[in-house]
Amino acid sequence: MATGKEILKVALLARLELTEEERGKFGSEFEKITAYFAELQKMGISGELVLPYSCPLSSDNPREYDIKLEDLTRHIKDGQVLIPPWLA
């Protein structure tokens, strides 16, 4: 079983708040699922790392969007996105 400390580390990287109960639950599932994934490693496949894109991805052709900031979020004031205060 993945330790509580390991789950906590991954949750920290993923910016996820977990309750103690969730840490226990996901920890016990982790072991089973990663053991299943390990079957793939045992096959010793190596080689190309490719994705099935139709054409090379490029940033040469920037697009313009007709979308306003106001359409994306409710948390907005004077054209700026409001974020929580850093300090109390």
Partner: protein, 470 residues
């Protein structure tokens, strides 16, 4: 329930003047009032707006060659595809209150062709699931048996068509999410080649796999919807710049057609009645089946989930409580991220983000993510070699018929294994379709899955249509 016509039948009747679009909306309203409470197929339904649009289409009339091809046809949309001004929830608490600021490319194309959009359908949260039990809006039930799941993640789209709440629908398929529910509910679900249909406006789950696909009662309807939504799009650089060729549905099985069956898939089937149901139409038509061995298919669920979870971890990083949907404010930006994401995502999404973050983290990336990428390339090569021998590959869509609600949800690995026949062809970017077998097992539908070489979507639809007629 008032049985709804297919798109082709309705279009014909509208042109004949024997039915009005408003009558069909009235039938849908009746079906919704009878079944929606039990089935829970829709998250948001706009029947009054649909009725107004139907009236406008009826008033304009239906003229061959002049009226847009989907004029007066009511379609449901999975709630991870953006429709301007409508909520787009992805069945998640974290997108509560979010309104889509633009139309997805597929939506613009449906609108340009006159379709009436009915509403947004329920799904597994962010399309992650195989049973439609992970939605924050409650599970969807199979209209054929309310104790059973409709499949997922496009369960709402399929269930809506199944009970007469829509004539057809759009879903999205990452590793089986269109084909699997279609199989469980006795409908047609088509996943186009990766790159055939624009993903612009489809909420990203696993970007190297996500494809939008049609759900319909017949292959003809699926082909019609596909021909409208497919094609290059400057907003999605992964779309093929070459448009798909026209589809010609003759209904004839080509004399020299070569169909292969993956022996590993049939060997692993626990219920041999599923095999019988899948093979029956081919035996009836005298189509010779060639056995193929694709050993890497057996590891496809592991390869698929490793890649998917890694992409989920990256794609869902954008839901931070700042830019989209709901926010659980705390003192401090980082604290707000943690509380919003911790409380906004359900268990399955959280599980995948955690596993994906783990698989991408320093020290593990080679063992997990990079191994899965290499596996994917090797699997695609096995498929490519197989298609040197055959035109199409046949497997069951699912190893079983629809299972009961609650049967697998407590064991995530068991749920993942439900994707055993639908993940490998998605990983190889191939077009694949599920059509209902004529024979059922214990009264429940079984799906026949056909896969074709990449970009041979039209050929696949033509053959699936012929098989459907057997």
């Amino acid at each position: 329930m008032k049985e709804l016509p297919t798109i082709a039948e309705l279009s014909f009747e509208l042109h004949q003047g024997s039915v009005r679009a408003k009558d069909v909306i009235a039938d849908i309203r009746n079906n919704v009032s009878t079944h929606e409470e039990d089935v829970n197929a829709y998250i948001n339904l706009y029947l009054d707006d649909a009725d107004t649009q139907a009236g406008l289409a009826d008033d304009a009339g239906y003229l061959e060659g002049k009226t847009p091809v989907l004029s007066g046809i009511p379609i449901a949309i999975k709630d991870n595809i953006c429709v301007k001004g409508w909520p787009c929830t992805c069945a998640s608490k974290i997108l509560e209150g979010f309104l889509a600021p633009y139309d997805a490319t597929v939506i613009s194309r449906l609108k340009e062709n006159g379709a009436i959009l009915l509403g947004k359908t329920n799904l597994d949260e962010f399309a992650m699931g195989a049973s439609n039990e992970t939605s924050v809006y409650g599970p969807v039930r199979n209209p054929l048996d309310l104790e059973r799941v409709p499949g997922g993640s496009s369960g709402g789209s399929v269930a809506a068509v199944g009970y007469g709440g829509a004539v057809a629908a759009l879903g999205s398929d990452t590793g089986g999410s269109v084909r699997q529910p279609a199989s469980f509910c006795g409908l047609v679900g088509f996943r186009p080649s990766y790159g055939r249909v624009s993903r612009w406006g489809l909420v990203a789950f696993s970007s190297s796999l996500d494809q939008i696909g049609p759900i319909a009662k017949t292959v003809e309807d699926a082909a019609l919807l596909y021909s409208i939504i497919a094609g290059p799009d400057s907003n999605d650089s992964t779309t093929n710049p070459v448009p798909p060729r026209e589809i010609c549905l003759s209904g004839d099985v080509p004399n020299d057609v070569k169909v292969g069956i993956i022996t590993e898939c049939f060997e692993d089937l626990e219920d041999k009645r599923v095999e019988d149901a899948v093979l029956a139409p081919f035996q009836k038509a005298g189509i010779k089946l060639q056995e193929l061995s694709l050993p890497l298919v057996r590891q496809s669920v592991a390869g698929y989930y490793l890649l998917v979870m890694s992409e989920v971890s990256s794609n869902l990083a954008r839901y931070d409580g700042i830019r989209y949907g709901s926010r659980i404010s705390k003192l401090g930006l980082k604290e707000t991220y943690f509380s919003t994401r911790g409380q906004g995502f359900g268990d399955e999404v959280t599980r995948r983000i955690l596993l994906g973050t783990f698989g991408l983290s320093s020290g593990y990336i080679d063992a997990y993510y990079n191994t899965a990428l290499s596996y994917r390339a090797a699997l695609a090569e096995q498929y490519e070699k197989a298609f040197e021998q055959v035109d199409f590959i046949l497997t069951p869509t699912m190893p079983s018929t629809a299972f009961k609600l609650g049967e697998k949800i407590a064991d995530p690995l068991q749920m993942y294994l439900a994707d055993i026949f639908t993940a490998s062809n998605a990983l190889a970017a191939l077009p694949c379709i599920s059509i209902p077998a004529p024979k059922r097992v214990d009264g429940l539908p079984v799906g026949i899955q056909l896969t074709a070489p990449r970009w041979e979507d039209s050929k696949l639809l033509e053959f699936a249509h012929a098989v459907e007629q057997i």
